[in-house]
Amino acid sequence: MTEPVLSIKDLVVEFPFRNDVFRAVNGVSFDIMPGEVVGVVGESGAGKSMTGSAVIGLIEPPGHIASGEIRLKGERIDNLPEEAKAKLRGRRIGMVFQDPLTSLNPLYTIGEQLIETIRTHLPLSEAEARQKAIDLLTEAGIPKAAERMESYPHQFSGGMRQRVVIALAIAAEPELIIADEPTSALDVSVQAQIIKVLKKLCANHGAAVMLITHDMGVIAQTADRMVVMHQGTVVETGTVGDIIRRPQEPYTIKLINSIPTIQRQAGDVTPEEAANDDGAYVQVKHLVRDFEIGGGGFLKLLPGKVEMFRAVNDVSFAIEKGKTFGLVGESGSGKSTCAKMIVGLLRPSSGQITVDGHDIWAGGAGHKERRKRVQMIFQDPYASLNPRWRVADIVAEPMRTLGIARNRTEVDHRVAELLTRVRLDPSVMRKFPHEFSGGQRQRIAIARALSSQPEFIVCDEPTSALDVSVQAQVLDLMQELQDEFGLTYLLISHNLAVVRQMSSAVGVLHNGVLVEKGPTDAIFDNPQADYTKMLLDAVPDISRVA
């Protein structure tokens, strides 16, 4: 049997606090064989990134490795002095980080950064290093690499930058690459390409990969074996196919079951298909929004032509009462701009939005109808609740503002009822938002949205900041509330699987244009527009496990 590239044994990482010691990693053991791609998957706080940091010796003090050992090709590296560890980084272990914006130095050209890295680790001349850098960039799929060597990082798109980062990581021919959420900051279509590049480059150069991610879909399409982590310990290890098809441990089973998939699963009830008639509850007609580009303040007073950018271009769709319409698109597609116009935060440049027959942008009357009927659930549950307010006040704000309940006892009573509805204990009323987890905060946000007794709720990426198992609970809750109150949802998401699970009809936005809309099954099973086809192909999905 060949020797593993990386061997981790009973690793424990501890963070001492003033009166407590927190074990971020608690007895983790696994091996990575040469040329193998091992996915380390887990929800936030599972200790997966901390394991990666321990391997390259970059744990932030006061954290430290308390016990256990890490071996690279049989040689212990966890107890090496700092200078020796520094020599390992880049030379024998390459790193790819999540955010391609911050992992390249903005003051140096791509070429300078690559050549510097290559020459630090390999005995090459300037010209040889330059040639190698160009070869690496070409291999990473950067067109006209020789010309782009003189470009600065800001002249590249996010996906291109991540390619450069991968080229940098592989530059010194390391034995192991640690990729920490390499695609989480990228759009779906770019994500697929980056996974391919990472896989190809590592295979060509014979590097093993430790792929750390929360996204089971990425693992399914990339890794050979996977390690499932939960609260600092390894729950299950095995080949990707085995774990996804036949998970053994209760935690893994729960995790796999909570992941939505873009395939319709047998036994799912197909939501009725929405008919697109004029009597629909919410109607969006020819919606357009332009933004001015460039200077603000005094510059606006100067005469001259103002350049315009059209973020939303002639978008029309309709939502039946009690149904969910999914709006799908990548970043910059204008989906959030649409949401802002529909809830009344941003005035449309032209077009009309009617809710229950009332034009919501038609002066005071429309404004009043909108406040009564429309509510919104936001993406980031950390920013959507005022940190200085108690939960009771947060949930009560809409009913107080709209005058639904006035005296204290009645307000308290209703708040308690709403909290019970979203499955929180009513006694949490007196607490502040920071005392809750992300999923609990999103429940509080849902309770607030329901507090004004709306009929239509716009959900802007309601679960993309949450872990998968929490996401499943929140989606279940949303579904339940829809059935109970007959709510109409506009679900905006980049996550196609979530949209498929929740919506009866779907619209696909691309560069501000609605390229396709129709019943969910029709779009997912038989897409017409090229963009939709490309998007559906690109999604890493656990049903696509090799």
Binding site: G297, F298, V374
Partner: protein, 319 residues
């Protein structure tokens, strides 16, 4: 909550003690207890402030009551008896006023002007900063350009200018009584821009957050949003600048009074005392200058150190 088993009073008391306990365990108390410099600074500041506030009751003499002054006590050195036989721990000045008592009464004026001017600057700066940051556009452009222009001059020059103009507008027979208020106005107006800048930046961050959007969707009045949602979330940095601003305002007041344009001589502040004292420095009566100057330095330094500590303690990045 009607279904709680406790009597109505119990939970309130429990909540209060547990809140006090959480406070004692909080990071800010911890960082205070682990910073000896801050502990010393806060004790010095507290002693000086108590001396000033309690001056009418604890000062050994009333230096501004002509009936008790005796010119025979003049120029008594520290820790000795005067010709007239009275004991003065820090000596007396040319008019026979007890230096310790003048310092205590002088700190009173200095602190009152410092606190009031900082409060005035804070209210004005926070208000304008909130408006500029939240409304943006032309409001932001006008308010912040005025702030920029003002920040490009030393604050003391602005205060001098405002003081001069305001004095000119007040009829001469009221100047004496109005002087202290004009001084507060001048120092306050000279210092609002710092607050406005900080609050504007913080407001621009907060107004993008979804909790503000949630309130806007509901149609909550913008004034209420600013007051109840945004303001509590931007106050952290304001308190820090406020503390450091207090030290600055005390020094600015002293500078103006030293130049002779501040408070009237009948109501001397620390700056006025230093001005009086420097006339006698080279004739050997050093104590008339030294003690007020040391008090001013201690006061400004301790308040400044407290401000620095507060800034670090509230900034998680520096921990």
């Amino acid at each position: 909550m009607t279904d709680l088993p406790h009597s109505p009073e119990q939970p309130v008391v429990a909540a209060k003690t547990s809140r006090w306990r959480t406070f004692l365990k909080s990071d800010i108390v911890w960082s205070y207890r682990h910073s000896p410099v801050t502990i010393v600074a806060s004790i010095v500041a507290l002693v000086l402030i108590l001396m000033a506030v309690l001056a009418p009751w604890i000062a050994p003499y009333n230096p501004f009551n002509p009936a008790t002054l005796n010119l025979m006590d003049g120029f008594t050195p520290p820790n000795s008896n005067s010709f007239a036989g009275s004991y003065f721990i820090l000596g007396t000045d040319n008019q026979g006023r007890d230096v310790l008592s003048t310092i205590m009464y002088g700190s009173r004026v200095s602190l009152f002007v410092g606190f009031s001017a900082t409060l005035f600057a804070m209210v004005m700066g926070v208000g304008l900063g909130l408006v500029a940051g939240y409304l943006g556009g032309i409001w932001d452009a006008v308010i912040m350009r005025v702030a920029d222009v003002q920040l490009s001059f030393p604050a003391i020059l602005i205060a001098l200018l405002i003081f001069g103009v305001a004095r000119g507008l007040i009829p001469p027979n009221q100047q004496e009584g109005a002087a202290i208020w004009v001084l507060i106005l001048a120092i306050g107006l000279a210092n609002w821009a710092q607050f406005a800048r900080t609050v504007r930046g913080a407001t621009m961050v907060e107004r993008q957050k979804d909790y503000v959007s949630a309130a806007r969707i509901l149609g909550v009045n913008p004034f209420i949003i600013l007051l109840r949602h945004v303001l509590p979330n931007v106050m952290g940095p304001v308190l820090v600048i406020g503390t450091i601003g207090l030290a600055l305002a005390i020094i600015e007041e002293a500078t103006l009074s030293y130049l002779g344009v501040g408070v009237p001589p009948t109501q001397p502040s620390l700056g006025t005392l230093i001005r009086i004292g420097q006339q006698f420095l080279f004739s050997g009566e050093w104590w008339i200058l030294l003690f007020p100057a040391v008090t001013l330095v201690l006061l400004a330094l301790s308040v400044n150190l407290l401000g620095d500590w507060l800034r670090d303690a509230l900034n998680p990045k520096l921990r």
